[in-house]
């Protein structure tokens, strides 16, 4: 591909899918600092998913099919597509094989693609390789290495703020809105309504509503279409919701260390560490494990979470499997029954 410098204001498309929910604030800041305009695909809908289902192979998992749909919708509207190859985002860990091959799958399947910025993000051996990915991406927009570095630093700073907001209990979309608002005023951490919560104990405090933990890949639970708005529905049912992303990293790592062998998937490590923590933390009255049909890592970690939950016995667990055929009615019936059980058990504990 010819890496000619593009004009200022060229459009970079980012699909609202996969690790958008973890890294978008950083990506956006980076490209905007370099003078590009960032275009995100709209929220997931039935037609976005249908388009993805048509493009992707039948055996692909739901999140990949959905991502294909988002990309197909973006393809004609932007000058570049940013689809980093997320090989590894932590030392000695991967994400999932499909993330390793994702840009190639897209390139061979989705028609009418603009140039794809598919830089490798690979921190498997060394953390400092993160910058080299952004350095590559920056070359599309400027010849100035210093400018790219500054944009990268700025992106990292925003990412840090974003992660703090997540840990404080904001859902990704809320946290992103807050960041955008703050960016309008001034970039300073003080602009956020944060109470500096850092330890695992703090997040479990608060009013005496029943608390349900939702554990699942970010692109499944935070996409309100795919998850059928489970998080909102739980909140409306009077339940306090906590997700794996609100558990601080050291707690996750310490809990996951109980496994006989270190897990080599970053996202699963977070899910399993958080789930183990929720199972004995006391405050959590129900655990909802959300997975998509055919998810490879979840088939293994889900099994381990299930076994641990059954052995512990104190916290009821609901396994929810989502796919493109999931019907709302079936999911809600199961969710209601699960909530009834959580509240019933909660009531009994109070009387005893």
């Amino acid at each position: 591909m010819v890496k000619g410098l593009c004009l200022m204001g060229s459009k970079v498309g980012i699909p609202r899918a996969l690790l958008y929910y973890y890294y978008f604030p950083m990506w956006r800041t980076f490209f905007e600092e370099l003078g590009a305009e960032v275009v995100v695909s709209g929220p997931s809908t039935k037609s976005v998913l249908n388009q993805g289902v048509q493009l992707a192979v039948e055996d692909a998992c739901l999140p990949v099919k959905l991502a294909f749909g988002h990309i197909a919708g973006l393809a004609r509207k932007v000058d570049y597509l940013f689809l980093p190859r997320l090989v590894s985002v932590a030392s000695r860990e991967y994400i999932c094989p499909k993330f390793l091959g994702f840009p190639d799958m897209v390139r061979q399947t989705v028609p009418h693609l603009p140039p794809v910025i598919d830089v490798d993000v690979n921190l498997y051996r060394r953390n400092k390789y993160l910058f080299s990915a952004f350095k590559e991406a920056g070359k599309f927009f400027t010849a100035s290495a210093a400018r790219v570095y500054l944009a990268y630093r700025q992106g990292l700073a925003v990412l840090k703020e974003y992660q703090k907001l997540l840990e404080a209990g904001f859902m990704p979309e809320e946290a992103m809105n807050l960041l955008t608002k703050a960016a309008g005023k001034k970039r300073s951490p003080a602009a956020f309504p944060l109470s500096g919560r850092s330890s695992g104990q703090m997040i479990l405090a608060g009013e005496e509503k029943p608390m349900v933990a939702v554990v699942g890949h970010p692109y499944n639970i935070y996409d309100s279409f795919i998850s059928m708005n489970i998080l909102r529905r739980l909140q409306q049912a009077g339940v306090k919701v906590i997700t794996a992303d609100q558990v601080p990293e050291p707690v996750v790592r310490a809990e996951a260390a109980a496994l006989p062998k270190r897990l080599f998937w970053t996202l699963s490590q977070r899910m399993i560490g958080a789930a183990f923590y929720f199972l004995h933390a006391g405050r959590v009255q129900g655990l909802l494990h959300v997975t998509s049909f055919g998810c490879g890592p979840d088939s293994m970690t889900g099994e381990l979470i299930n076994r641990r939950a059954r052995a512990a016995g104190a916290v009821p667990l609901l396994n929810l499997v989502l796919d493109e055929h999931s019907g709302e009615a079936g999911v809600f019936t199961r969710l209601e029954a699960f909530l009834d059980m959580v509240c019933f058990r909660g009531g009994k504990f109070q009387e005893a």
């Binding site: 390793l100 091959g101 994702f102 190639d104 062998k261 080599f264 076994r307």
Partner: protein, 370 residues
Amino acid sequence: MVKVTFPHMGHMWLCVKAMLEYLGVAVVIPPPSSKRTLALGARYGPEFACLPLKLNLGNFIEASALGADTILMAGGCGPCRFGYYAQVEHAILRDLGYRYELVVLEPPERHVGQLLSRIKTITGNNSWKRVYRGIKLGYQKIRAVDELEREAHRLRPREIVPGSTDRAFQEALKEIERAADLEELAAARGRAGETMRSVRIEERDVLRIGIVGEIFTLLEPFANLDIERRLGRMGVEVDRSIYLSEWVNDHMLFGLIKGLRSRRDACQAARPYLKHFVGGHGQETVGSAVLYARAGYDGVIHLLPFTCMPEIVAQSILPVVSAEMDIPVLSLTVDEQTGEAGLMTRLEAFVDLLERKRARKNVEGRICFG
């Protein structure tokens, strides 16, 4: 004394058994994978786990009934699920009440001493020199078995008496199995080759199909419903993208043995379509399809277990390889629901298609040059 068992993968048992018995370790070979094995694995394994895990689990349950108390497994560091198989299988077995010791051979986390001490738990008081000779015996047996398999692939579509190749192959395998050390193995190899040569064949114009995909489904006849023999009986000569000896050479012996086909060539050939490794054999699958097309094969069959992550990446890319290199590709996903009739129908249709394609090409050739 410990009684060691390990999961089935094609003829691997023959080599591991030779290696362990050479070192004086008691070995329990699980009964060959069967419907019962799979039913056990599917009942107790995670629903969305891939087929190999379920078969492994079934193997261990069946081996336990024969007195096995220690599992020898390979491991890995991802991103393919196989790297975590042993731990999940062990947890399931423990909850079912099976008391198994688990020994996982995998790249050490901290230092090489970890791996060596794990090997020592199996090999006991054998000297490292003897361990080396045991490994060499096992490896030579794999080489011998792979040679026989290749020969069987060539003979089957050309045999005059149907079934004669299979009978000779089974007999030859027994020769190899009986050899207790390297000297005996050399003689056994000669006799096995003799047996294979006794199969009467006639020269025919046969179709050639390359089989690519995930290693376990490629190597384990029960998992792929014996696809090589079925195709052979339909008059197709097959080749596999992975033979066990090549895999061992690439992954365990650091490519020390020269002159074998290597994964490097396949990965190189895959680059225009799939630039990065994706775990498992995803990149090799794409690359091997390219190599088969270049070598003039008539078609490619892609085998993968249901939900296999690396192979799904390959599956998404293979249609482009097929179109650009003009080689038909058939993807076959296998799991515990796979039925024989469905598979046969698809194989027959695919072979029909290849035959027509070849006939058309021959006619075109005659018009142009005749």
